[in-house]
Every structure is written in structure tokens, then in C-alpha cells.
Symmetry: C2
DNA sequence: TAGATTGTTAATCGATTAACAATC
DNA sequence: TAGATTGTTAATCGATTAACAATC
């Protein structure tokens, strides 16, 4: 398994957005410095783990002082790759696809939804926050004109693999998959799954097991 | 950290719904038996891990044969707690809340959405698949009449903690949280987070790091 | 300077993988 | 019976935690 620029484990990667979230909050609250100890208490981690995590990327702190909140937030923003913009399309303009298109917070971090696609004639032609719903047949042409970084799959399960294949054919290298199936992709394509049912079943398990 | 009936790690818990998903597919494809080896190939795990996972719960296989697909699926269904029904309410009837209410698949596994709640007068009175959107002020009364197992938070971040507090006050012990914040709850309450932005940022990180 | 807190190395813990006897 | 595959124990690997010298 190749591990790009930063040789970093999945566990660390998953914590990065959480650090980013907490640091944004602290910045908003005008907190200027933070120690690994204080951050650990806020986030429910250990101070050791936090320092280990940051040192995967080179250490942004200062002995005796801690971390500058703004600086640390910016570093993590950089690591996550949020200092550039991403063009996004959503395939599947049903309720979930529309909900995602309506969620304007993604834009604030540079994720711009350029179009939705569907096969349903009733949806095609619609517009959500000014984003058009187009026929899936137009997708290939659309992506040729406007390079797309991320493809979102919000179709039913039965169509998900087909949609993934089409995205890959169009040269899209990153897929955010909401369909309850693990789509198969070539090794240069990244997939991030949001399996809502899996999450709900996990909750069911935990509530029956008091953990 | 107390670990209910089954003393099982988070990593194992997270794999259970995935097993369930694959086994359902195989059952649909009328596959009757499966070995840990074959399942490992389908799922991208190791056979060892699969056998270890199942043996957390007591081993459902037979030497020389493998596992009966239907039986195994049923066992996992039992472990997950999907042989009972769950009453669910959704607080926040915006796009995401509506999308969740519209997603009829949850019902098939026994999760019944009993009502949505909101503060927006424009949404109150609406009906989604026959599920009413009520005023949040009616929630406490509603939950008294109809016991609710799971509360879904699909409000903006700013309201999430308040909503969680209200749910807890109403006796709800399980929260499925879609707001981009970690709500604080007493130790007997279970929270499962779906942090969409975290997931998206993870994807951004990975696409910039070729992992 | 003295106190605080990092960056980093070492120790521990837990999860995954390997191996194999048991047995269908 | 012979072959296959589990359940389970042991070995390995990786991630988390602890400890502490470096240094602000």
C-alpha cells in the first residue's frame, strides 16, 4: 500500500479533520495558544497521541509554550489539502443528492458543486441553489469542459457501480460514495464511503451492548 | 470503558455491518456456503481476521465446510440487534432530515421514523412519506406517548447540543448525530456521529497523498 | 533562571496475521 | 478415509501511552 507524501496511518488521517474542527472553534473563541494537554482534554484524546500525530508532519509547537492555535489550524488545513478548490459533481439528484447540494458549508472550504446528474426526467432541468440537474448522458461532455476533482455517488445501490465506472471513464480520481455498496475502482482512484446504514447498525449494536 | 455483553473492540463492531451487507448480497445471489477464505477475498480482509471476528461471538462455522450463508447472516443480524424494531425521531427537518425520512431502506431493517421536529414554521405541518413535521416544543409530549429509541440530529451545528440535551431530557439513550460537532452526553447515552465534512476532508487528504 | 511543554525515544498494549491441532 | 476448513493459540506488527531530555 503506497502512502504518499506523508507516511501516515489511516487512524491519524481520520483524526486530522477533528483537529481542524476543534481548532477552528478555538480560533473563533479567540483562544491563541493551546498545549497538547489542554487539547487532549477538549478532544478526549491523550496529549501523547496528539504530539505523536502532529509529529507525523513535522511538529508545529514550541517547547514551554505549546501550539499557536491559528498557526496549527493553518498547518492542518494545508495538510488536509484545503488551500485549493475542488470541483465536484453529484450523481443521483434524489433527496440525498439535493441535500448535499444544498449544504453550503462545503463551499466555504473550497468544494464547489458544479452540477448534479440523474436519469429521472422529472429531476432533469431542476436547479438547486443555482446548480443544474442534468441528464447523466451529458456527464462525459460536461466533465470534458470543466475538470472535476470529486464525484459524489448518491444513487441507489443498484446504479452505484455503473456510476463509478462512468466517473472513472471521465477521468475522475476521487469518489465520495453514499451508496450502501463497496464500489470497485482501479488503484489510482480514491473512494471514501459514507455508509449510513452501517453507521445506524453500529448504533443499534452499541445501544444493545452498553458500550 | 464498559463493554456490554460482548467484549468486543470498536474495530470489530465497525466490521459487523459490512459482514451483514456482504452476506445479504450473497444470500440474494443464492450462495449457500462460504469459507472464511472466500469471504476474505470478496471483502478485502484476511481469512484469519474474519475467523477471529466471528469467534468474538462464539463461532458459527463448521470445520471442513465453512459457514452457512443464511445462518451466519442471521447470527450477525442478531448480534447487531436487528431482530427488534426501533422508534426514531429526527430533529431538524431541513434537506438532510427530509432525505433521511425519505430513505425507506431503514424501515426494512426495523427503524421506524415516527416524527420529524423543527423550529421553522414553514416546515412544521409538512408531511414526508406520511411522517409529520412537528414543532420542537411538542417533542417532550410526543416522546412521552410514544417511546423513542433513537434521536437523529440533523440541525445546524449551533443547535446540536441543545437538541441533544432535550433528547436526553426526554429519556432518549441513543443519538445519531449529523451535525459537525461532538455533542456531550452522559455516559449512559450512546452517540454515533456522521461527520460529513470530516469524511470529505479525509477524501481531500487522500487524493493529495495518493494513498 | 525556573517552569512549562514540546519532540522523540522506549515501553506497553491491542489488533492483526500466521500456524496448526481439532474435526467435520 | 482424505481433504478442507474451522476454532484457537502463538507470533508479529502497529498504534497508543509513558517517560524524559531538549529547549523555549
Amino acid at each position: 500500500m503506497p502512502r504518499g507524501k506523508y507516511g501516515v496511518s489511516e487512524a491519524v488521517i481520520r483524526r486530522l479533520p477533528k483537529y481542524y474542527r476543534y481548532l477552528k472553534e478555538m480560533e473563533k473563541a479567540e483562544i491563541q495558544r493551546v498545549s497538547s494537554k489542554e487539547l487532549s482534554q477538549r478532544m478526549g484524546l491523550t496529549a501523547s497521541q496528539i504530539r505523536q500525530d502532529f509529529n507525523c508532519f513535522g511538529g508545529f509547537g514550541q517547547q514551554g509554550y505549546g501550539y499557536n492555535v491559528t498557526e496549527l489550524r493553518q498547518e492542518i488545513k494545508k495538510i488536509l489539502g484545503l488551500y485549493r478548490n475542488y470541483n465536484v459533481i453529484i450523481v443521483g439528484a434524489g433527496n440525498l443528492g439535493q441535500a448535499l447540494a444544498n449544504y453550503s458549508n462545503f463551499e466555504k472550504e473550497g468544494f464547489f458543486i458544479k452540477a448534479l446528474f440523474d436519469i429521472n426526467p422529472r429531476l432533469i432541468g431542476m436547479s438547486i441553489r443555482g446548480i443544474e440537474v442534468l441528464d447523466i448522458d451529458q456527464m462525459e461532455e460536461f466533465v470534458k469542459k470543466e475538470p472535476i476533482d470529486i464525484g459524489v455517488i448518491s444513487t441507489p445501490k443498484a446504479k452505484a457501480q455503473e456510476v463509478a465506472d462512468l466517473m472513472i471513464k471521465c477521468g475522475i480520481k476521487s469518489i465520495w460514495n453514499f451508496a450502501p455498496i463497496d464500489v470497485e475502482v482501479p488503484p489510482d482512484v480514491v473512494v471514501e464511503n459514507v455508509h449510513l446504514s452501517d453507521s445506524l447498525y453500529t448504533l443499534a449494536f452499541k445501544m444493545n451492548n452498553g458500550s
